[in-house]
């Protein structure tokens, strides 16, 4: 062979339309996992305001909850956390070798359940906190 051609990794994300259930589950799981790690830092920062006294903490929370963006983001966080938990349980089953031929169904079930829980939570989050 005189020479060959390396097409690189270009088609990896170019073929996202062809991704099957298992691949989407993986993409979403990685994404949600890292979002949760990111949230952990935010979470610590917000809770830390309590170090300056109860009033400061109450002030932080009321200010944040007063913002619509924050409440919308909270719905998003719930979606991310619920999906990660449900799909995490699915991955546990996959690791145990349980129902591997139905793994796509359990992925869709995780998605639908996440959707249902998120929709049901919208009124609560939109109402915000009343202090």
């Amino acid at each position: 062979m005189s020479q060959s051609f390396n097409r690189g990794l270009v088609e990896d994300f170019g073929r996202w339309r062809e991704f099957s259930a298992g691949m989407w589950a993986w993409v979403f799981h990685k994404f949600t996992g890292w979002v949760l790690v990111g949230y952990l830092f935010t979470h610590i920062a917000v809770l830390s305001t309590a170090l300056s006294g109860p009033a400061a903490y109450t002030n932080t929370i009321t200010t944040l909850e007063g913002l619509l963006v924050v409440r919308v983001l909270e719905v998003g966080l719930l979606a991310v956390a619920v999906f990660h938990m449900l799909n995490g349980s699915r991955l546990l089953l996959v690791d145990l070798g349980v129902g591997l031929e139905r793994q796509d169904v359990s992925f869709y079930a995780s998605l639908i359940l996440t959707g249902a829980i998120v929709v049901a939570s919208v009124p609560t989050f939109m109402a915000g906190v009343s202090l």
């Binding site: 062979m1 005189s2 020479q3 060959s4 051609f5 390396n6 097409r7 990794l9 088609e11 990896d12 073929r15 339309r17 062809e18 099957s20 259930a21 298992g22 691949m23 589950a25 993986w26 991955l91 996959v94 690791d95 145990l96 070798g97 591997l100 031929e101 793994q103 796509d104």
Partner: protein
């Protein structure tokens, strides 16, 4: 087309042209001339007016032909018959329009594993894929994540090396006392490994794997499945089994699998690859716990 072409007597190679430096140069020049001739031939394509045709877009690349060094897609119009496969379409295009169109094939019945291609964004065997099931234009590319040698032909060397790395052979540790004794297997055990024995070394799974794409050292689904085929065979010797488990639990073995199921999705022999990889992960854990 018959493959029983009568052998013509070999003609002696005589260097007549003084301008030609080496035989290699001459071959390259002849090849370029041939390609140019074939181009012209394309203009006198058969009249497909009124016929049911399909358009295939085929990846082209040839490092030895200047016009093909830059990869491109060629379109071919092929007459469509019910039952026609992607491989049939490629063969029609090659035999009718461009004899330099290069792809591997042999058995035409999903047995030899030589024609795994990337068709409309997924890895399939050309001979097993019905043209009628595909949306037009039908894009036919070489397997992703392998170097392209020419047109649809990829370099399979690395894939074969990974297959060899798991010692793909039967080893019962010791030979039976009576050499002629049958080494029988229970029906249940045969069922357990049945699917894993079906691999035809086509490389579709490895090509579909996102992890293998980013990590060339990863053994890949087919090699791990091969290890499963022997490690789970009750007749395998316990020493060999431990050795095999050690190979697959190394850094680039089973633990790289992230259960994306892409390989299982594309395997033309329907081997539950992810299931076998997961089983070996558990086997590796069990093997390690034994030493505690």
């Amino acid at each position: 087309m018959s493959t029983q072409v009568p052998k013509e007597p070999e003609t002696e190679e005589v260097e007549t042209d003084p301008v030609v430096k080496s035989a290699q140069d001459r071959r390259i020049r002849e090849k370029a001339e041939r390609t140019a001739r074939e181009r012209v031939k394309t203009d006198e394509a058969p009249d497909l007016e009124g016929e049911d045709t399909r358009v295939i877009k085929v990846f082209r690349y040839d490092p030895e032909v200047p016009e093909k060094q830059e990869p491109r897609f060629d379109e071919f119009h092929v007459p469509f018959d019910k039952g026609m496969t992607v491989l049939d379409a490629l063969m029609y295009a090659r035999d009718t329009y461009d004899s330099s169109l290069t792809f591997r094939h042999s058995c035409r019945q999903a047995v030899c594993g030589s024609d795994a291609l990337f068709v409309n964004g997924s890895q399939r065997l050309g001979c097993q894929t019905q043209l009628g099931d595909l949306d037009e234009p039908i894009r036919i590319e070489p397997l992703p994540h392998q170097d392209v040698v020419k047109d649809l032909v990829v370099d399979m060397q690395h894939f074969y090396e990974q297959m060899e790395a798991v010692d793909p052979f039967f080893d019962p540790d010791d030979l039976p006392a009576d050499e002629m004794a049958e080494q029988a297997q229970t029906r249940a055990n045969r069922e357990k490994i049945k699917m894993s024995t079906r691999c035809i070394w086509c490389g579709a799974c490895m090509s579909s794997c996102n992890i293998a794409a980013g990590n060339n050292d990863y053994l890949g689904p087919a090699a791990i499945n091969k290890a499963y085929r022997f490690a789970m065979d009750e007749r395998e010797g316990s020493d060999k089994k431990r050795e095999r488990i050690e190979i697959i639990e190394r850094e680039n073995g089973v633990w790289r699998c992230q259960t994306q199921f892409s390989c299982t999705e594309v395997c033309p022999k329907d081997i539950p690859l992810t299931e076998h990889i997961q089983a070996l992960k558990r086997e590796a854990v069990k093997e390690n716990l034994k030493f505690w």
